[in-house]
Point group: C2
Chain length 204, copies 2
């Protein structure tokens, strides 16, 4: 599909096709869908994107996206204010919140250390994490970064910084193992190995 | 993922999730991708959509999307101007053009007859098709609509109108059969049946 009947159409398709995992055929389908909507609806679509981009704010404490200077989680009095869960990005906060199993605070790094992509510790919110510990009286930091080489590097970097400056701080990481409902037969050997090494007491 | 940390974020996600076959998780991923782009890039994205919607034009002859009053295909002197291929929508024109096997004109109906969706013949560019035949000296109309009940209904409706008013007009439909490279074993029985009924002379 190289020949678009209109430059305006081609421009719009190019924009959609620049998004991650949207191919040119899907992009065309999405654009033609928008073309069938009322002009004011397309205006609302475009407006929501530019407004978000121009007015987006980040919580100055945890760096999550927020409509206010300090996000609702950081300003809540109902949360455990002595625990911080360190995550890579905004999606991870939302995902953990949906579990309903965590009631502490968060710290969004905004990425992980990745020399290949030119992302170093200074590009991430690591210093601001270390600075939170003493004033906020944090006693546990949970590392919830991906189990990739980059994630492990970032974990290690944060651990060294935190443990160096705060020897009494408890530093944990989320459990890795066979998924709930997952079958051993279909679990990769590294995950299965970890789930054996990190076994916990059976509680009947 | 019900709890968005920001209303602006939620609005943008809702807009993307309103597109066909974009779920809320994908929508969030796309929005967070845009959030990482420069504001002027997001502006360009939004601008391309609103500009297309507000300034889109349709060829007054074939009703394909066009930047001009008459589209390049309809105004080309290098095309077979006595044949019209009738298609459902703009994508179909682009798809047929990529084959390089067709050099005639098009007529975009803008949909197919579908009482379930409240689409009747009057909502489609059928009258304008019938009106093209005599003035343009068309001698063949190729029906290239989908092989669904709606497609068949639309084919039949168009056939009756065209044949009634222009008894000498050749009316054809595109061949249906086993795909090139397709195996009989995996071809559905209706397609396979058609490919036998509509067999053609073997040309060695």
């Amino acid at each position: 599909m190289n020949t678009y009947p209109s430059i305006l159409l081609e421009n719009a398709v190019n924009q959609f096709a620049s998004l991650p995992s949207v191919g040119r055929k899907s992009a065309l389908r999405l654009v033609l869908h928008l073309l069938k909507q009322k002009p004011e609806e397309v205006e609302a679509f475009a407006g929501a994107l530019t407004q978000l981009r121009n007015e987006v704010r980040y919580c100055r404490v945890c760096h999550n996206i927020s409509d206010s200077d300090v996000c609702p989680i950081c300003s809540s009095i109902n949360r455990d204010r002595q625990t911080i869960c360190v995550v890579e990005n905004v999606q991870d906060v939302m995902q953990i919140e949906t579990t309903g199993q965590y009631n502490g605070l968060y710290h969004v790094l905004g990425g992980i250390i990745s020399p290949m992509d030119g992302v170093g510790p200074k590009d991430l919110e690591i210093e601001s994490l270390v600075r939170r510990i003493a004033p906020e009286g944090i006693n546990e930091v949970i590392l919830a970064l991906p189990t990739t080489m980059e994630g492990d590097t970032t974990n290690f970097y944060i651990y060294r910084h935190l443990a160096g400056e705060h020897p009494d701080l408890k530093i944990t990481q989320i459990a890795r193992g066979v998924a709930v409902g997952g079958e051993l037969e279909y679990t990769d050997e590294i995950t299965l190995g970890r789930s054996i090494l990190n076994r916990i007491e059976f509680t009947p």
